[in-house]
């Protein structure tokens, strides 16, 4: 008899031997005991978690005459097949007429399904049930699935279908709804090492706990992977497995070297880190494997750095935990997060480009050069400081220009340091209004107050102001959409010079808006600063702004402005309407009053 690999040899033959999946096993057992076995099952889950195994046990259990006899006599105590009777043995050896295991990936077309439909009608040869195990069911074609639908919905009473797949999403909804859906889950590390330990005991192989846990870790929760790894280790090493040998064959860096590297990185000792990386490479370990180890290690330290009491999330021995706790004390969560980010990025780069060593070295250099404690918020704060300084600087540059009359618009734009703005159409002069409401005036910067040299008698042309305001709004649209939508209905009012204040103050521009916007602090100081900055970049010298409700403004030059900006029903507006030549007689005639005015 030729050799059988461990995964096959130790394929469970009883429900109770199946590792994990208690939610599936318990349900199936109960169904068998209460004689409520369904007619179609769908088993799905990751590879190596027991789908085919459970399907085979189920096939044996429902058919095993010994089990049935026992159940009848003992009032239903066992759901396990006997594995001894003729039927169980036949099924185990895959020569039973009534348990048909179909490889759907090789027979994926409609023809095998048609054949199956023909055979389904026939009664089982010797057993109670005829069981079809359709493995890798996701590979059936659309036609094949559809051909199966009617049979699956109402199969003859003696038939049970078991579909097994790793890819649940490829199974049509119509199939899923006709089956009892059982999901198989990844197993826990502990369960896998327990299982491996019992196999090793039975096979007379000695292995230590550390070795078991590294196999379990490597298997990612899939028992068959773990068993195959064990198989390979036994084949290459022999009957005595030690953690060191295991790590070597699996390509793990010895935990000692990994620890050394981590320590050097945490202490930002670059040359030592590079040295220990070189040592790892010299040992011939798989650098990608090594990268995984590093990521896991840093993750564990990060967990400890967040909270010392989260030990239960970490797998590892006591001494290792203590070491990690020390390392967690040396650093911050922030830095660890960035280290992990660098490592994961390195992983994807190695996958794309190869050259693991070069990428890892680069990562080590990066990790060592991350300084402690520079928080993102701090960087942002520093940046905005610099921005402010630049703004002040450009403002003072503007002030040194001898005569604003002669300012070339191009140079103004350059000085304002905002190359992405269109250059202002012309230099504008600004008038001033005395009806200020001091509370809502915003002073941009005290430095800007020395603008005495500026001459604001230049054109207070409403056309040009409109133009400027339009451009400001356009720039806002890109920077701050919310502010743009608040301001888009407003107008920059022409500036009146004759009411001008003392010459050393900065001119105040009024922005006409509805009263809510003017009175409440909807627009924050920051946003006002932004508007002021933009205005200055287009006008060429510092200004202040003030929001005024449209009805209160003293400036009412044209009906057009009034229509577009003034709130209907404002006092001024009503007075005008009342004096309207056509409306007045009508009002008189009916002795009427104006209640509401709506713009056209």
């Amino acid at each position: 008899m030729s050799y059988e690999v461990l995964a096959q040899k130790w394929r469970p033959r009883l429900f109770e031997d199946v590792v994990g999946q208690t939610h599936v096993i318990q349900t199936l057992k109960n169904q068998i005991l209460s004689d409520r076995v369904g007619h179609a099952y769908l088993f799905w889950g990751p590879r190596g978690t027991g789908k085919t195994t459970v399907a085979r046990i189920l096939a044996k259990a429902v058919n095993c005459p010994n089990r049935r006899k026992e159940t009848e006599s003992q009032q239903g105590t066992t759901a396990e097949p006997c594995n001894e009777c003729q039927f169980c043995v036949e099924i185990a050896q895959d020569r039973s007429f009534d348990v048909i295991e179909m490889d759907a990936a090789s027979n994926r077309g409609i023809d095998p399904i048609r054949e199956l439909r023909e055979n389904v009608k026939l009664a089982p040869a010797s057993n109670l049930y005829k069981i079809y195990i359709i493995d890798e069911a996701h590979m059936l074609t659309q036609e094949a699935f559809n051909a199966l639908l009617k049979t699956l919905e109402e199969p003859p009473p003696h038939v049970i279908f078991i579909l097994a797949t790793t890819e649940h999403h490829k199974i049509p909804k119509t199939i899923i709804s006709r089956c009892q859906d059982f999901d198989f889950r990844y197993m826990e590390m502990g369960q896998i090492s327990d299982r491996l330990r019992s196999i090793c005991t039975a096979e007379d192989i000695s292995i230590d706990d550390e070795g078991l846990s590294s196999i379990a870790e490597q298997s990612e929760g899939c028992l068959r992977d773990a068993e195959n790894l064990l198989e390979r280790l036994i084949a290459s090493v022999g009957d005595t497995l030690e953690a060191e040998k295991i790590n070597q064959i699996l390509g793990f860096g010895s935990s000692h070297l990994i620890h050394e590297l981590v320590q050097a990185v945490l202490e930002c000792k670059l040359s030592e880190s590079l040295q220990s990386l070189a040592n790892l490479a010299k040992q011939g370990v798989d650098l990608i494997q090594c990268l995984h180890q590093l990521i896991t290690h840093f993750r564990q330290i990060r967990i400890l750095a967040i909270n010392k009491n989260l030990e239960n999330l970490i797998e590892g021995s006591k001494s290792e935990l203590n070491r990690m706790r020390e390392q967690a004390d040396q650093t911050t969560t922030e830095r660890l997060s960035r280290i992990i980010k660098i490592l994961t990025k390195t992983h994807s780069e190695i996958k794309r480009h190869g050259y693991a060593q070069i990428h890892l070295e680069s990562a080590v250099i990066d990790m060592c050069s991350i300084q402690e404690g520079i928080q993102l918020a701090e960087i942002a704060g520093r940046l905005s400081e610099i921005e402010d300084k630049i703004a002040v600087h450009s403002a003072s540059q503007n002030q040194t220009v001898p005569s604003p009359r002669d300012i070339n618009p191009q140079s103004t734009a350059d000085q304002s340091n905002r190359s992405d703005f269109e250059r202002p159409p012309a230099l504008l002069s600004l008038g001033e209004d005395s009806n200020l409401n001091p509370q809502s005036t915003y002073h941009h910067d005290t430095n800007d107050n020395s603008n005495a040299a500026h001459d604001y008698t230049m054109l207070g042309d409403s056309k040009q102001l409109e133009n400027v305001w339009g451009q400001v709004l356009q720039s806002l649209r890109a920077d701050n959409m919310a502010l743009f939508s608040l301001l888009k209905a407003t107008t920059l009012l022409p500036y009146q010079e004759n009411n001008g204040p003392a010459p050393e103050t900065v001119p105040i521009l009024e922005i006409a808006c509805n009263s809510a916007l003017a009175s409440e602090s909807i627009i924050s100081t920051d946003e006002k600063t932004l508007v002021v900055k933009l205005l200055r970049s287009f006008i060429g010298h510092p200004v202040q702004i003030q929001f005024v409700a449209s009805g209160e403004s003293s400036d009412m030059n044209s009906m057009e402005t009034a229509k577009s900006t003034h709130k209907p029903g404002g006092l001024m507006f009503q007075a005008e309407v009342e004096q309207d030549a056509q409306l007045a007689p009508t009002l008189n005639l009916f002795d009427a009053k104006i209640l509401k005015i709506e713009p056209k």
């Binding site: 050799y3 990751p46 190596g48 490889d103 790793t166 670059l270 070069i358 070295e361």
Partner: protein, 318 residues
């Protein structure tokens, strides 16, 4: 007899041990970089399984060994992808044949090359066979891209990882085997990045391998030279592969790493001088840029243009 295979001692030991202790599994998956010797080891394994006078490796003289060497052993078959893909029909053909007993040898051996080229249907089709292969058969799957395989395939095989040889290991072998001068051997070894197959191809194709020089791109700062350099890279894609290692050396030197960790030890002094022209970030960006360009060249881009852009990016600004 000692194995004629360079490196992979551990793997060979594992496989032979499995044969001796009668623990040969039904399905193996050899994974590792291209041209590193996977198929050679697979053939060696096939010979060892069927050799009639096995003693620490196949005898190479018995009928079975000679038949495998000549590729006419009835129980051994190598399956290569048909065109770009390995197709489901090839797998079905295999499944039909694998159920029969071996004609002459102990076990039937099927070697499937480049299994990452299997399309989805073929891969799934193979699953059941892989899980429970007929007793007297061994499937050896070979891939250089383990991640491209279905996890369900991986889980059913014993995965054997092949690694690149270290540069000194390979160059030592080259010196021993081909009587090369030491620095030449070292150069070839580092050019082939430790893959034996690459090194042998290089030896066969280019008899005269000149002494390596520092790439012009690192030394020059004349931006007009960029186009000439790009043209050179265009003619000799290997130089691009090689370029990364130079930047790596610079980076290491820049960070004060010991000299013996360098690839180009012979130029350590000159490189040390050159480091002053670069910053750490610049070197790291340079490495990234080379990789990205390499990636681009694999796609359908104008290679001259891509290389010119790369060189312009890499040249130190004066």
């Amino acid at each position: 007899m000692r194995s004629p295979i360079i490196g992979h001692e551990q793997i060979i030991e594992q496989l032979l041990h499995a044969i001796e202790s009668n623990r040969v599994a039904g399905a193996y998956l050899f994974a590792g970089p291209a041209n590193v010797g996977k198929e050679t080891v697979a053939l060696y394994f096939a010979k060892s399984i069927n050799c009639t006078a096995l003693e620490q490796g196949p005898c190479n003289s018995c009928l079975s060994c000679r038949k495998i060497d000549n590729g006419n052993h009835p129980d051994m078959q190598i399956i290569n992808p048909l065109g770009a893909w390995m197709k489901i029909d090839q797998i079905r053909e295999l499944q039909k044949r694998i159920v029969y007993r071996p004609l002459e040898g102990n076990r039937k051996v099927y070697i499937l090359n480049e299994v990452d080229c299997m399309n989805l249907e073929a891969a799934n089709c193979l699953l059941k066979t892989l899980e429970e292969p007929p007793a007297a058969s061994v499937l050896v799957l070979i891939t250089s891209n383990l991640d491209a395989l279905l996890p369900t395939i991986r889980s059913r095989c014993q995965i054997i990882d092949f690694h690149l040889l270290t540069i000194p290991e390979l160059s030592e072998y080259l010196v021993r085997q081909f009587n090369l001068e030491e620095h030449k051997a070292f150069h070839i070894a580092s050019l082939s990045r430790g893959a034996v197959g690459n090194a042998l191809t290089r030896l066969r194709e280019k008899e005269d391998i000149s002494y390596e020089e520092i790439p012009e791109i690192i030394e020059s700062s004349d931006r007009l030279a960029a186009f000439r350099i790009a043209e050179k890279f265009n003619r000799d894609p290997d130089a691009l592969e090689q370029l990364v290692s130079w930047y790596r050396d610079l980076l290491l030197l820049h960070q004060g790493a010991p000299v013996d960790s360098l690839t180009h030890i012979f130029h350590a002094q000159r490189l040390q001088q050159l480091t002053s022209r670069y910053s750490r970030l610049k070197l790291q960006t340079a490495i990234k840029t080379v990789f990205e360009t390499r990636e681009l060249l694999k796609r359908n881009v104008n290679s001259t243009l891509a290389l010119e852009v790369m060189v312009l990016k890499l040249l130190p600004r004066t």
